[in-house]
């Protein structure tokens, strides 16, 4: 293409009469700009349910929440000490499951794990575009911790996502 342009230019110069009227040119450059908004939000969640626990028997459960973003993101847990702790409805008895947690492309498999599920943070690089991933929690309750007062036990897991 460059060669073609030079050839055309040479031809044009030759074709012009030497006494051609003055040619005056000027160029201006205009900037064009846009900013694509940051997308960072949580979507649908699947609760972590240990089901009906039989006293003396271990229990497990898995929960997840969608994370939709187009920016680099840092995940952390704002209430680390109480994260995922279950309290009996109408009572004070608690269950403190152990958790593993991380992020995955599907709602079931962790591909990037937190080092722990209380004080750790996890930095995720910016994706090439908007993407959906999942923050996943796998919980387990040891058999020794299930000899409890009957009832419903509930708790919450809070996750903070911050763009970076």
């Amino acid at each position: 293409m460059k060669k073609l342009v030079l050839s055309l230019a040479a031809a044009a110069a030759l074709a012009l009469p030497s006494a051609a009227s003055a040619q005056v040119t000027d160029n201006g450059v205009i900037s064009v700009s846009a900013t694509v908004q940051t997308v960072l939000r949580f979507g649908a969640s699947t609760g972590l349910d240990f089901g009906t626990i039989t006293p003396g028997t271990a229990a497990t459960g898995q929960g997840s929440i969608e994370l939709i973003r187009n920016v680099g993101t840092t995940l952390s847990f704002p209430d680390a000490t109480a994260l995922g702790q279950l309290v009996r409805t109408g009572g004070t008895e608690t269950i403190s499951p152990t958790y593993t947690c991380g992020v995955g492309a599907t709602a079931t498999t962790i591909t990037t794990a937190f080092t722990n599920c209380s004080t750790a943070t996890l930095s995720l690089a910016a994706p090439t575009g908007q993407s959906t991933s999942y923050v996943i929690f796998n919980g387990s309750i040891a058999a020794s911790a299930t000899n409890l007062t009957p009832g419903d036990y509930t708790g919450t897991i809070k996750i903070l996502a911050t763009s970076n």
Partner: protein, 164 residues
């Protein structure tokens, strides 16, 4: 296709410049007239939402591009339009320009005169107290998975006095 058109326009620019410098007699003559192209403001699409096209109309005084045309006489004006906005990371947002995206504003109080930015056009400038302005709008087409961040491009405006 647009890239090819722009490349051909680039060839046109080179032709014009060579024509101006190539005539040995031309330098000895006073220019037929002088025109200065002064960029006043860029074409700003502002904040884009992924997946949502954004159009800046040529009547949008706050966001359209404006270039001041200071001088008088008849001038050939050519805009070399970009195909896309690009980010520092190389992400692209396609741009679309139509024949209605350009205009000439002879004076601040005068109605806009249509100018097709897709092809070279002749603009007559009266040289009145208020310089004319060349205006440009356009449409940005961010993808649904467009990465967040700043995107830029440039429009080159080439002005050539065809001589008499």
């Amino acid at each position: 296709m647009r890239a090819r058109a722009n490349a051909l326009r680039g060839a046109g620019l080179l032709l014009a410049l060579v024509a101006g410098a190539g005539g040995g007699q031309a330098h000895a003559q006073a220019p037929a007239s002088a025109l200065e192209a002064v960029p006043l403001q860029g074409l700003s699409f502002g904040e884009l939402i992924p997946g949502v096209p954004e159009t800046v109309r040529v009547s949008d005084a706050a966001r359209r591009a404006e270039i001041l045309l200071a001088g008088q006489g008849s001038w050939d004006v050519l805009m070399v339009l970009p195909d896309a906005l690009t980010s520092a990371a190389g992400a692209r947002i396609p741009l679309r320009f139509s024949g209605r995206d350009g205009a000439v504003m002879p004076s601040p109080s005068a109605p806009l005169l249509p100018f097709d930015p897709l092809s070279m056009g002749r603009v007559r400038i009266s040289g009145g107290p208020s310089p004319a302005r060349l205006l440009l709008g356009g449409t940005a087409l961010p993808a649904g998975d467009q990465a967040a961040g700043s995107y830029t491009a440039t429009v080159v405006v080439i002005i050539n006095n065809p001589g008499t």
